[in-house]
């Protein structure tokens, strides 16, 4: 991926530890004015404080709780350092979500019009929306990550608001550590697929829960000769994702579809991937998603899911990893950590010997790397 975002200047990129430079990331992206960028810079600096010494201190206190045999969930809530750290993290989250939503809000109609024009003009890839696709209950129960309206808010015709906000929000959330276009997960997954299935000719790829295709585009770059498809249940994110992919010159076939009931015939893809989709689903949905992955893969095809690394942590680290589950509207996150994911893959038809669960390093600067769950359908 390009180090300097399309449309952004060298100077803007150089002064952007924030992940979001003033200007426009690409032709379909919201314009960020210098004042808005300053607000985001503040949000990132504030998060830096909370991720630094304050988090270290909370970690030390959590370790002390565990050493005493106390449950950090109970004991730590009495400690001011933990209470203030949590409250400040939540305030930071609410703040940057609001700033990014306001940036998109002031240009909502223009963004929709640009996406419409880009979609109408001839260009690579396609967009297929299906209004009969329902938002799954696990997505509708709460607004994930405390974003009011979540991925699904639609207030005008051809709305792209949640998609545009998601791009700005993800960049500010990752503080630039997941790549200039937030492509880190996709880069990691594509590299993993290459080494996991070296004998596989990767010609057709499907990305599940693609949102706006931030990871999907990394697959286009890793396998330029392949046909890349991506599905999500969110129409506004897909509209934006399609315009974004075209603006960045990548060819992706976006389709509104539920990963639990994919609209593709059996054996359609060589690789089926997802990037941080699983932790936003549910215990009941996972077996259905894995079964669909198995069904749409060709014999010998590979399934590669990238997730947040929340498993096999020591008890204090596990407690901190569960923070989002309790305080940041990620209701399935905590459950995922305790599940036998390999067992679920086997139930879906993948042979036990071929299931791999491992943590791989980030391709950029994300601390802790990513959890990869991969399996191959028998040839």
């Amino acid at each position: 991926m390009r180090a300097v975002p399309a449309g952004g200047t060298e100077e803007a990129a150089a002064e952007a530890p924030v992940g979001v430079a003033a200007g426009r990331l690409h032709a379909a992206a919201p314009e960020v004015d210098p004042e808005e960028r300053a607000l985001l810079a503040f949000a990132v600096a504030f998060k830096g404080l909370l991720r630094g010494r304050m988090r270290d201190a909370v970690c030390v206190r959590a370790e002390a709780c565990v050493a005493r045999g106390d449950l950090p969930e109970e004991a730590l809530t009495e400690e001011p350092i933990y209470r203030w750290w949590s409250a400040a993290l939540r305030a930071q989250q609410d703040f940057y979500v609001d700033v990014t939503a306001a940036i998109v809000d002031r240009q909502l109609e223009a963004l929709a019009a640009t996406a419409r024009t880009i979609a109408r003009d001839p260009g690579p890839g396609s967009l297929t929306l299906d209004p009969s696709v329902r938002v799954p209950t696990y997505q509708a129960a709460v607004d994930i990550h405390c974003v009011p309206g979540s991925y699904f808010l639609e207030r005008i015709a051809d709305d792209v608001g949640p998609g545009a906000r998601s791009e700005l929000g993800s960049l500010a959330f990752a503080m630039g550590r997941h790549g200039a276009m937030n492509e880190d997960k996709g880069v990691v997954a594509a590299e993993f697929a290459r080494s996991f299935a070296p004998d596989l000719a990767i010609r057709r790829i499907l990305d599940l829960g693609c949102t706006i295709g931030m990871s999907t585009l990394a697959w286009c770059d890793a396998f330029p000769a392949a046909e890349v498809h991506a599905v999500d249940v969110s129409a506004p994110c897909l509209r934006y994702g399609h315009a974004r992919a075209r603006a960045l010159g990548r060819c992706v076939h976006f389709r509104q579809a539920d990963a639990e009931a994919l609209p593709y015939p059996d054996g359609s893809f060589d690789v089926v991937a997802s990037h941080i989709l699983l932790h936003e689903t549910s215990r009941a949905a996972l077996p259905r998603i894995f079964a669909e992955c198995h069904r749409v893969l060709v014999p010998g095809g590979a399934m590669v899911h990238v997730e947040v690394p929340i498993r096999d942590l020591d008890p204090a680290a596990a407690f901190l990893a569960r923070w989002d589950a309790w305080n940041n509207n990620e209701p399935f996150w905590g459950h995922l950590a305790g599940l036998d994911l390999a067992g679920l893959c086997v139930q879906a038809g993948f042979p036990q010997e071929g299931v791999v669960e491992t943590v791989v390093p980030s391709a950029h600067q994300k601390a802790g790397g990513w959890l990869v769950l991969a399996a191959r359908k028998p040839a």
Partner: protein, 121 residues
């Protein structure tokens, strides 16, 4: 008929929701303190926005060859400015972190008591 003004069209867009679906966790001892913290975070961000505007103005003047008096202050790099502001406004968080890392200090009355004893230090 005249086309609706930009304002009228804007008004036609329903306002964006401000409250995420899902009950808020209670993190501090009082929910009121959380409201105040949210306001302080927003206000500190506004201070940085103004600081940044000031920097940009000075930088623009300097670019145009305007010789600025020393009192105008330096047009310094922006990200470190945000970090410095955060450090000053939320200094108390750093203090908390340092205390938590150091472990519990001896209660102050105990120190007072110890120093007053004839057999004390």
């Amino acid at each position: 008929m005249r086309a609706p003004s930009r304002d009228a069209r804007r008004r036609a867009i329903p306002p964006r929701p401000r409250a995420a679906l899902g009950a808020r966790p209670r993190l501090l001892a009082s929910a009121d303190s959380e409201v105040l913290l949210a306001m302080i975070v927003a206000l500190a961000a506004e201070v940085h926005r103004l600081e940044d505007r000031h920097d940009r103005l000075l930088a623009a003047l300097a670019r145009d060859g305007v010789k600025l008096p020393e009192e105008a202050g330096p047009a310094s790099a922006r990200a470190p400015r945000a970090e410095a502001l955060v450090e000053r406004v939320f200094r108390v968080f750093d203090e908390m972190a340092e205390r938590a890392l150091r472990g519990d200090d001896e209660p102050y009355p105990d120190v007072v008591d110890r120093l007053g004893r004839p057999e004390g230090p």
